[in-house]
Amino acid sequence: MTTATGTPITTRTDGNDPAGAMPLPTRRDEAWRYAPHRDLARLAFGPAPQAVDVPADVLAGIPQLGGPLVVMVNGVVDSELSQLESLPAGLTVHPGGGADGGDSRLAPHTELDAAAPVDAYDALNRSLSGNGVSVLVDAGEQIDPPIHVAHLLHPGDAPNAVCGRVRITLGEASAATVVETHVSVGDLAGGASVRTSIVLEADATLEHLVLQDLSAQQMLLARIEVNQHPRSRLRARSFNLGGRYGRIASQVDLVGEGAEADLAGLYSGSGDQVLDQQPTVVHRAPGCTSRQAYRGVLDDSSTGVFSGGIDVRPGADGTDARQSNDNLLLSRQAEVDTQPRLEILADDIACQHGATVGQLDPTALFYLRTRGMTEDEAGRVLVNAFADQVVEEVRHDAVRDWLSRRLGHDHD
C-alpha cells in the first residue's frame, strides 16, 4: 500500500488549519473545555505516511466478527488486509480512492460535506481524508453479519496525525450493523481524526458500534454525523477505553417524523486518560424519540467528560427525549466533568435528563466483604455491575466477549 507523501501539514507552527484557517479549539471553546490542549497541540496532521507493516497480532486482537472486514491503515483502505470477497447480497462497499463511481446513494453525504466544519479538526479532516470507505445497503435488505471497519493507527514522526472517513447509507427499510474499531499499531505518539457520516433512509435500522482502544500516547478525534429519515432507528453504542485522549462526538439529526435514536456509551479510564463524549441529538421533526445513556468509570488520575445535548427545534412537537449520565470515581485524583444540556424551542414535548457522580457504595462493598470477598474483589464486582449495564446491551457475542476481556470482566 502506498500513498503519495506530500509536505506535512502542521498545526503546530501557526495553529491554523490549511483549509479555512480555523484556529485550533482552546479551553474557551465550550465543546473542548476539558480536552488536553497541550497534547493536542503536538499533533501535526498530514497525508497518511508510506506503507506500514501491520503485525498479525494487531488484527488478531480486534473482535472477530466473521463478516465483511474493511481495514483502514492511517485512514487509507488496505485491500490486502480487508476481507471484502463474497459480500452478502444488497451490500456494497466502496473502498475509497475515487472508486465509488459516482454512486448516487452517496449524494446525501456530499450534502453533509457542504456544511461548514464545526472546528479545526473537522476542517482538517475534510481537506485530508478523501472519500474514505463507503458502506451502502440496498433498500429492503437485511444484512446479518456485522460489517467491521477497523481503523489502524500507526503514526509517523511528521506528520504524526492522519484523517479517516467513513460513509454509511442504509436504504429504505433495510437493516445492518456496522462496527468501527480503533486500535494502534505500536505505541508511538500521534492521533487520528475520523469522520463518519451516516444516512438512514425511511424505516431503516442501524446498529452502530464504536470501540476505541488506542495505545497510551495516541488520540482519537471521532466525529459521527447521522441523518435520520422517517421512522428510521439508530442504536449506537460507544466504548471509549484507550488512548491519551479519546473523543467521540456524535451529532444525530432526526429530520424525519417518528425517527428513533438510542445512544449509549461506556468510558473507562485509568492513568492520565481523558475520555470525552459529546453526543447531541437534534429533534427537527415531530414525534421523534431519543435516549442517551452514558456511564463512566474513572480510576487513577483519569478524566471523564460528558457533554450531551438535547436540542428540540421549533415544530418538533411530540418529542420524547431522555438523557442520563452516571459516573463512578474510583480514585482521589480522578475527575468527572459532566454537562447535560437541554435546548428546547417547541412545546408539547417531554424531555428529561439526569446526571450523577459518586463512588462505590460502601454498604454494598461491606455486604460483599461479609460474603468473603476481598475489598479488591468486591470493588471489581460492583464496577463490573455498573459497566455491564452498557456492555450487556451489545447484541453481538464477539464484541461483548472482546469488551469483557478488555475490561477485565471475564465471567466464569
Binding site: 466533568d337 435546548e343 417547541a346 412545546d347 408539547d348 450523577t356 459518586g358
Partner: protein, 481 residues
C-alpha cells in the same frame, strides 16, 4: 396546546406593565461617557477616601482590558458604554429628622409601589433602605437595629462611618477583576447597602431594600455588602420595580455576602424591572454578580423570583469554603414577551462535608427565552460533599424556548452529585382533569403554574411570598384570565 390557550397566551403578551409610571424628580446627571475622569468625578461627588478611589481606578483599568462576555444564551444589541451617564443623584437630598421631610414626589412613588414608608415604620417590622437612582435618601428603623448592634445603612454612609469594615470585606468575595460587569460596577458603583451583623446576633427584623431606577439613560450600579459575624443570622429582602421607559437601561449590580463561622444569611430577591414592550423595545438590561462566601458551618441561601428585565444575566453563587457549610439556591424565572433570562447558580465546594441544593423553575411564555446555567464544582478537598440539583422548565406556547446548561465538575471520589432536569408543557390532560373538577381553564392554569413554583415560594419570607405570587399572576394575567 389548545387554540383557547393560544389566545390566552397572546393575551399574556399584551398584558401591560403594572408599575409603568415615572416620577418627575430633579436629577443631577453627569454627561454620558466613561473615562478615568468619570471614576474620579464619582469618587469626588461622594467625598470618598483615597483608598476607595484607588480601588475604583484599579477596577476601571481591569475593565478596560476585559471583553464583554458572550457565552450566555442572550441576544443583546451592542451596548455603547460611552453613551451612558454614570452618575445621577437627587438634587434635593433631604436632611431627615423625620420621614415627613422626604420629598413628596419620592413618597408618592413609593406609595404607588405599595411601600408607604410612614405606615411601614409604624405597622410592619421591616426596615426599608429606599434607594432612588443612586443615592440613598432615607433609612428607617436604624434605632431598633442599632440596639441589636446591627449596622444597616447605605454604602456611602458605611464608607464614611465604618471604613475599616468596608475596606476589609469589599471585593473579598467578588474581586474587581472577576468579570466584565463586576469590574464595571467596581469602577463606577454609585451606592448600595451595607449590612453588618455582629457576633452571635440574630437580626431582630428582616432587612429590606427597594431599588428603583428613575432616570432615563442612567445606568444603575449598586453595590451590596453583607457581613455576618460568627453565630449571627440575617434575612435580607431585595425587591425591584422600575418605571416604563423606551430606552434600555443598564443595570450592573454586585452583591457580596460573607457568612463567618456558624452564621446564616438568607438573601431573597423579587426582581421586576421593566421588561420592555411586546416588541422588546425598552426594558432593563440586568447584569448581576452575586456571590457569597460561607465559612465553617455557615449557611447562605439565595432565593429569587425573576419576572422582569429584558435581559437577565445573573448567577447567585456560594463558595463553600468552610467545612460543613451549606449553600442553597431557589429560583423562579419567568420570561414572557421577548424577555431573555440566562440565570442559575454556582456552588463551589471547597470544604469537607459541604452540602448544596439547587431548585430552579423556569417558565417561558410568549417569545421569551429562559436558560438555566449552573456550575457545581467539587474540589479535591471537598470530602463527602453533596449536591442535589433539580431544574424544571415549563413551556407555555410554541414560540418560546427553555434551555438547561448545567456544568458539573467533580474531583473528589467521596463527593456525591445528583442532577435532575425536566422540560414540559402544561398538559391537556392536566387542564382537562382540573376542569372536570369544576375549575375554569384560567384557574386551572394558575393553579398548575403556582404549584410548579411552590417549592421556591415556600422558601420566601412571608411578605415576599405574597408579592411573588402577585407578580406571577400579574405576569400571567393574559394567559390565565
Amino acid at each position: 396546546m389548545s387554540g383557547m390557550l393560544r389566545e390566552e397566551l397572546e393575551g399574556l403578551a399584551e398584558a401591560g406593565y403594572e408599575f409603568g409610571f415615572s416620577t418627575e424628580l430633579d436629577t443631577d446627571i453627569a454627561p454620558p461617557g466613561l473615562t478615568e475622569d468619570t471614576v474620579r468625578l464619582i469618587a469626588a461627588k461622594k467625598n470618598e477616601p483615597d483608598w476607595l478611589l484607588e480601588w475604583r481606578l484599579a477596577a476601571f483599568e481591569a475593565w478596560q482590558q476585559m471583553d464583554e462576555p458572550d457565552w450566555a444564551k442572550l441576544d443583546i444589541s451592542p451596548i455603547d458604554y460611552q453613551a451612558i451617564s454614570y452618575w445621577a443623584a437627587p438634587t434635593k437630598k433631604p436632611q431627615l429628622d423625620s420621614l415627613d421631610e422626604v420629598d413628596p414626589d419620592i413618597r408618592d412613588m413609593f406609595d404607588k409601589l405599595g411601600i408607604p414608608l410612614h405606615e411601614q415604620k409604624m405597622l410592619s417590622n421591616v426596615a426599608v433602605d429606599a434607594i432612588v437612582d443612586s443615592v440613598s435618601v432615607t433609612t428607617t428603623f436604624k434605632e431598633t437595629l442599632a440596639e441589636a448592634g446591627v449596622i444597616f445603612c447605605s454604602f456611602s454612609e458605611a464608607v464614611r462611618d465604618y471604613p475599616d469594615l468596608v475596606r476589609e470585606h469589599l471585593g473579598s468575595v467578588v474581586p474587581v477583576r472577576d468579570n466584565f460587569f463586576a469590574a464595571l460596577n467596581s469602577a463606577v458603583f454609585s451606592d448600595g447597602s451595607f449590612c453588618y451583623v455582629p457576633k452571635g446576633v440574630r437580626c431582630p427584623m428582616e432587612l429590606s431594600t427597594y431599588f428603583r431606577i428613575n432616570s432615563e439613560n442612567t445606568g444603575q450600579f449598586e453595590r451590596t455588602l453583607i457581613v455576618a459575624e460568627d453565630d449571627s443570622h440575617v434575612s435580607y429582602l431585595e425587591g425591584c420595580t422600575a418605571p416604563q421607559r423606551d430606552e434600555n437601561q443598564l443595570h450592573a449590580a454586585v452583591v457580596e455576602l460573607v457568612a463567618k463561622d456558624r452564621a446564616e444569611i438568607k438573601y431573597s430577591t423579587v426582581q421586576n424591572w421593566y421588561p420592555g414592550d411586546e416588541n422588546g423595545v425598552g426594558g432593563i438590561y440586568n447584569f448581576v454578580t452575586k456571590r457569597g462566601r460561607a465559612l465553617e458551618d455557615a449557611k447562605i441561601s439565595w432565593t429569587q423570583v425573576e419576572t422582569g428585565s429584558a435581559i437577565t444575566w445573573k448567577y447567585p453563587s456560594v463558595i463553600l469554603q468552610g467545612d460543613r457549610s451549606v449553600g442553597e439556591f431557589y429560583s423562579v424565572a419567568l420570561s414572557s414577551k421577548v424577555q431573555q433570562a440566562d440565570t442559575g447558580t454556582k456552588m463551589v465546594h471547597i470544604g469537607s462535608d459541604t452540602t448544596s441544593s439547587i431548585v430552579s423553575k423556569g417558565i417561558s411564555a410568549g417569545r421569551g427565552q429562559n436558560t438555566y446555567r449552573g456550575l457545581v464544582k467539587m474540589l479535591r478537598s471537598a470530602e463527602n460533599a453533596r449536591n442535589y440539583t433539580q431544574c424544571d422548565s415549563l413551556l407555555l406556547g410554541s414560540d418560546c424556548g427553555a434551555h438547561t446548561v448545567p456544568y458539573i465538575e467533580v474531583k473528589n471520589p467521596t463527593a456525591q452529585v445528583e442532577h435532575e432536569a425536566s422540560t414540559s408543557t402544561v398538559g391537556e390532560d392536566q387542564l382537562y382533569y382540573s376542569r372536570q373538577r369544576g375549575l375554569s381553564e384560567e384557574d386551572a392554569m394558575a393553579m398548575i403554574v403556582n404549584g410548579f413554583c411552590r417549592e421556591v415560594f415556600n422558601e420566601l419570607p412571608m411578605e415576599f411570598a405574597v408579592e411573588a405570587q402577585r407578580l406571577l399572576s400579574v405576569s400571567l394575567e393574559g394567559s390565565v384570565g
